[in-house]
C-alpha cells in the first residue's frame, strides 16, 4: 500500500524550477539527470488574463511498478510503504528499468554509472524530515502527503 505522495498546489507554484535544483543538490547529482520536473500548459486567457497550470512530476511510485521486475539484479525495489528506489550497491547501470518505465523515470547518473530516481528522499523521510523538493520549495507549493490507511 502506497503511503506517500507529493502534491503540487499549482495556484502557489511560480514555475521557478527551484524544486528541480533542490532535488539535484540533495542527491549530489551532476549535470544530466533530473529526478523531478516542473512543466506547464500553454497559456490560455481566463477572464482576460493569460494563465497556465503547473505540473510537478517525479516518480509515480506505481502500485505495481514496471521497473522492479525487469531489473536483472534486484536493485530496483519497492518498500512496504510504497517507495520505489534503487539499491545503488546492487545496481549495475544497465538501465533496463528506464526502458520498462512508461515515462522513462529512472535516469542514468554519469558520476556513478548507475541508475538514480526519485525515492521520496527516503533517508530524509525516515529521519522525520520532508523530501528536499518539498522542504525548500520557494513558495511552499509542494506538499508531502502521508495517506492515512482506512
Amino acid at each position: 500500500m502506497n503511503k506517500y505522495m507529493i502534491y503540487l498546489n499549482s495556484k502557489r507554484c511560480i514555475g521557478c524550477h527551484g524544486c528541480e535544483v533542490h532535488c539535484k543538490t540533495n542527491k549530489d547529482l551532476p549535470v544530466g539527470p533530473f529526478l523531478c520536473e516542473i512543466s506547464h500548459e500553454p497559456l490560455k486567457a481566463v477572464k482576460g488574463v493569460p494563465k497556465t497550470e503547473y505540473h510537478f512530476r517525479s516518480c509515480y511510485h506505481c502500485e505495481d511498478p514496471y521497473c522492479v521486475p525487469i531489473c536483472p539484479t534486484g536493485a530496483m525495489k519497492k518498500r512496504e510503504d510504497g517507495i520505489v528506489y534503487v539499491d545503488t550497491e546492487a545496481c549495475i547501470g544497465c538501465m533496463a528499468c528506464a526502458g520498462a518505465c512508461p515515462w522513462h523515470i529512472p535516469q542514468y547518473n554519469p558520476n556513478t554509472g548507475k541508475a538514480v530516481k526519485c525515492d521520496y528522499c527516503m533517508d530524509r523521510v525516515d529521519a522525520g524530515l520532508k523530501p528536499a523538493c518539498v522542504t525548500k520549495c520557494t513558495t511552499r507549493a509542494l506538499k508531502f502527503v502521508t495517506i492515512q490507511e482506512l
Binding site: 514555475g15 521557478c16 524550477h17 543538490t25 540533495n26 488574463v49 520557494t138 513558495t139 511552499r140
Partner: protein
C-alpha cells in the same frame, strides 16, 4: 564532523538568510533560514553548492600581461597583486590627486566598508550600478516623500490589492516577498499586472493590462485622473499630510481614462472598474513603484505617479500598505558602529557632478555612467583609476564598446569579484574574492517591521587562493597608510567593532544567524506622522520643491513614445527566476536549466516575417549584431521584442556561458548618453533593433 553555519545567500542581490549544513569541510545542504523563510529557497540558492564546487572562477590574483581584454594573465601572490594595486593608486594620487580614483560596487547593505576605503584614500568618487537600475524609482520617491526608495516597505501579505507596472516579482524572486504575495492571493487579494508581455508574474494576476511599450506613464496618469473623478482617494490623509494636490489635479485633468485607454491600447472599462475596486480596498493597496526602471524617457515621472497613487490611497503606515521600515533606535537599541564614522568626509566635488552640478540627485552613490565623461574629457577633472567591487559595468550598462573607449583613458582598472566579470576580463588586476560560502561579511542592519542584525559566517574554507573582501580592503588599506579606518585583524574583531555599541556579541547572532530587536512588529501612530517625511516642506509633496528649484517640472506633459518603423522593434529585456543577470549564467546547474536566452516576438508579426518558433534570428542595432533563437508567442506586444538579460558572455574561461545566447546591452548603442535628466536613470528600453530571419538557419540537409 557535521556542523550548521548561518549565512546569507549571495547568488542574487536579495541575500536571503540561509542555513548551511557542512560535513567534513564539504557543503552538504543549504536551506532558507527556518526561522525566517521556513526552509524556502530558489533554484539559484540551492545552486550555490555548484558554484562552490566549480573551478571556472578566478583561483588566485591575476595581473594582466597582454593588451586589455586579450586574456593573458599572470597568476601572482596576494602580496605582489596588492603591492601592484597600491603602487599604481599612489602614482595616480601623486599625478592627478586622490580624487582621480573611483570605486564602484553593487550597492546593498555592506557599502559602508567600500565607501570607507575610497573616502579614506581621499576621493569622493564612490558609486554603484544603480543608474542602470533603480535610480529613477529612488529619486521619484525622494521627490514625493523626501525619502529614498528604501524609505518604505510593503506589507504585501495583508494587502487587498497589489499593482505592479512591469515589476516581474516572480522572476526577480525575493523569496520572502513572493511568499507574501502568494499568501495575499490565497486570502483573496487582487493583483493587477501591467506589462508589454505576459510574465511569470502576470499569470498570477487577477487583472492584466497589456500596454503598448513605453506607455506606463500614460496609464498611471489616466488612473490618477479617474481616482480623482471617482473621488476614490483618502481625503483626510491628503488634507493632513500633503501639499500641491490641486496643482496635480489640474495637471491630470487632460489625461482621462478614455485617453489613457486609447494611448495604451486597452479597454477604458477595465481602468474604471479597477479604480472603483481600489477605491473600496484602500488604504490596503500597494502600487509597486518599480524596481529596475531605467527603461523609458519618462520612467522617472511614471514612478512618481505610482508613488503618488499610493499617497492617494492613503497607503502609508497601514496594515496591508506601505509602512516605514523600523530601525534599531525604534527598538531602543543603539545602531551598529560604522567604519565610515572614522573617516573625514572628502572635500572635493564629485567627478560625476552629483551634488553640485546635479543638485537633485542623491550624493550617496552618485551616477556611475557620468564618470565616463570625466574619463573621456578630463572634466571636471580626470578619472584615472577604477576599482569595481562585485560590479560589472559591461554587464549592467549599455554600449560596451563606448564604455571601453572611456576606460582606455584609465591607468588602473581593478576587479574584485568572486567570478570572472566581463569588466574583470578587460581590467588590469583581478583580486578574487572568496565565494559567499567561503567567507564572512560584516554585520548588517535589516530594517523592517521587526528590525534585526544579521551576518554571514564562513561555512567552509576557500577552495582556492581567494580572500574575503574585508581582508582584501584591509590589506590594501595597510599598504596605503590608512589602517586606522580598518581597525581589526580578523573577522571576530571586525564584528566586535561593529557590535560594540549595540550590546550584542557575534555569539548572539551565531545562534540562528540574526538577532531580532523586537518580538512584535512596530507601527507608528498614523495620526502623528509629523517629521517622518523629509521633503523641504515636511509634507508629502505633489509639487516637489526639490525638482522645481532645479528647473525640473513636478509634472511632465506626456509625450507619446515613438512607434518603431516597419521591421524594427523596441528591445525590451528582463529576468528569469533561474538566473541573476550575468552572475549565474556559468553556474553548472543553472546553466543546465537555462543555457541561453531567446528572442520573444509576437506571433502575427513573426508569421509575416517567416519566422517560426526556434528559428535563428539576427538582431541588429547600429554596428552591433546578435544571433539568437526566436520564441514566437501571442503574449508580447507587436512593437516589442524581449530577451532575458545577462547572456552572450565573452569570458573564454567560462566555458558554459561563453558566447551562449545574446547580450542586450551590447546592442544598446548610444544609450550610455541617454539619461533621464530628472531621475538620473538610463533609458535602456529606448533602442529600436532590426530583426530578420538569420542566414544561419539551415536551408538544406546535405549530410547523410
Amino acid at each position: 564532523m557535521r556542523k550548521t553555519v548561518w549565512s546569507m545567500c549571495s547568488m542574487c542581490s536579495v541575500r536571503c538568510p540561509i542555513k548551511v549544513e557542512v560535513e567534513d569541510g564539504k557543503v552538504k545542504w543549504i536551506e532558507g533560514n527556518p526561522h525566517l523563510l521556513k526552509g524556502a529557497l530558489c533554484a539559484k540558492g540551492s545552486a550555490g553548492i555548484a558554484l562552490q564546487r566549480d573551478s571556472e572562477r578566478p583561483q588566485q590574483p591575476l595581473i594582466r600581461r597582454g593588451g586589455r581584454g586579450a586574456g593573458k594573465w599572470e597568476p601572482v601572490s596576494w602580496y605582489t597583486a596588492l603591492d601592484y594595486v597600491a603602487d599604481k593608486m599612489n602614482k595616480i594620487k601623486e599625478k592627478y590627486g586622490a580624487k582621480a580614483m573611483m570605486l564602484s560596487c553593487r550597492g546593498g547593505p555592506w557599502q559602508d566598508m567600500w565607501k570607507t576605503f575610497i573616502h579614506g584614500f581621499g576621493s569622493p568618487n564612490f558609486t554603484n550600478h544603480d543608474s542602470g537600475c533603480g535610480r529613477n524609482v529612488h529619486h521619484a520617491s525622494k521627490s514625493v516623500y523626501g525619502l529614498g526608495r528604501k524609505g518604505f516597505i510593503y506589507d504585501l501579505k495583508n494587502a487587498k490589492h497589489l499593482i505592479s507596472f512591469g515589476r516581474n516579482l516572480m522572476a526577480s524572486l525575493r523569496v520572502a516577498e513572493v511568499n507574501q504575495i502568494m499568501d495575499m492571493l490565497d486570502n483573496g487579494g487582487s493583483f493587477t499586472y501591467v506589462d508589454v508581455r505576459q510574465t511569470l508574474t502576470g499569470i498570477k494576476a487577477t487583472r492584466f493590462f497589456q500596454v503598448r511599450p513605453g506607455t506606463d506613464y500614460a496609464l498611471a496618469l489616466g488612473m490618477i485622473n479617474e481616482v480623482i473623478k471617482q473621488e476614490a482617494y483618502d481625503k483626510e490623509f491628503i488634507e493632513k499630510y500633503t501639499t500641491g494636490f490641486d496643482k496635480m489635479a489640474e495637471f491630470v485633468e487632460q489625461y482621462t481614462a478614455e485617453w489613457a485607454a486609447k494611448e495604451c491600447g486597452i479597454k477604458v472599462k477595465k481602468i474604471k472598474d479597477f479604480v472603483s475596486e481600489i477605491g473600496q480596498q484602500r488604504p490596503s493597496v500597494v502600487f509597486h513603484p518599480g524596481w529596475m526602471l531605467s527603461r523609458y524617457k519618462d520612467s522617472f515621472y511614471a514612478s512618481r505617479m505610482l508613488h503618488i497613487l499610493n499617497v492617494l490611497m492613503g497607503s502609508v503606515e497601514v496594515k496591508g500598505g506601505q509602512q516605514f521600515p523600523k530601525t534599531p533606535a525604534d527598538c531602543g537599541v543603539k545602531g551598529l558602529r560604522t567604519f565610515s564614522s572614522l573617516v573625514p568626509k572628502p572635500e572635493d566635488k564629485r567627478a560625476d557632478g552629483v551634488g553640485w552640478k546635479y543638485k537633485h540627485f542623491d550624493k550617496g552613490p552618485g551616477l556611475f555612467h557620468l564618470f565616463y565623461d570625466a574619463m573621456l574629457t578630463g572634466e571636471p577633472y580626470p578619472i584615472k583609476g577604477v576599482i569595481c567591487y562585485r560590479h560589472d559595468p559591461f554587464n549592467c550598462f549599455p554600449d560596451v564598446a563606448a564604455q571601453k573607449e572611456a576606460f582606455d583613458n584609465c591607468e588602473l582598472l581593478v576587479s574584485i569579484d568572486t567570478h570572472y566579470s566581463e569588466f574583470g576580463w578587460y581590467s588590469d588586476v583581478i583580486l578574487p574574492e572568496s565565494m559567499y560560502l567561503e567567507r564572512e561579511t560584516p554585520v548588517v542592519t535589516q530594517k523592517g517591521p521587526k528590525p534585526r542584525f544579521a551576518f554571514r559566517d564562513r561555512a567552509v574554507e576557500p577552495r582556492f587562493d581567494t580572500k574575503p573582501s574585508w581582508e582584501i580592503f584591509k590589506m590594501l588599506a595597510d599598504r596605503l597608510g590608512m589602517s586606522e579606518y580598518f581597525p581589526y585583524n580578523n573577522a571576530e574583531e571586525m564584528w566586535q567593532f561593529q557590535l560594540e555599541p549595540t550590546g550584542f556579541t557575534i555569539d548572539d547572532l551565531r545562534e540562528k544567524g540574526f538577532v531580532a530587536l523586537t518580538d512584535e512588529p512596530i507601527m507608528y501612530d498614523r495620526d502623528n506622522l509629523e517629521g517622518k517625511f523629509k521633503t523641504p516642506s515636511g509634507k508629502i509633496e505633489f509639487v516637489s520643491q526639490m525638482l522645481e528649484e532645479n528647473g525640473l517640472p513636478s509634472f511632465k506633459p506626456y509625450e507619446s513614445p515613438h512607434k518603431p518603423p516597419k521591421g524594427r522593434f523596441r528591445l525590451i529585456f528582463g529576468r528569469s527566476p533561474v538566473h541573476a543577470h550575468g552572475h549565474t549564467i556559468n553556474n553548472p546547474l543553472l546553466n543546465e536549466l537555462m543555457p541561453e536566452n531567446t528572442l520573444w516576438i509576437n506571433s502575427r508579426v513573426a508569421n509575416r516575417m517567416g519566422i517560426s518558433e526556434g528559428d535563428w534570428v539576427d538582431v541588429i542595432a547600429d554596428s552591433q549584431k546578435g544571433t539568437i533563437r526566436a520564441h514566437v508567442t501571442d503574449f508580447i506586444h507587436p512593437e516589442a521584442v524581449y530577451t532575458v538579460h545577462g547572456f552572450g558572455r565573452q569570458v573564454p574561461l567560462q566555458s558554459r556561458a561563453y558566447h551562449a545566447g545574446m547580450s542586450d546591452q551590447k546592442l544598446q548603442e548610444g544609450l550610455l548618453e541617454m539619461m533621464d535628466p530628472a531621475g538620473g536613470g538610463l533609458c535602456l528600453c529606448e533602442k529600436f533593433v532590426t530583426v530578420r530571419r538569420s542566414p544561419r538557419n539551415p536551408r538544406r540537409r546535405v549530410e547523410l
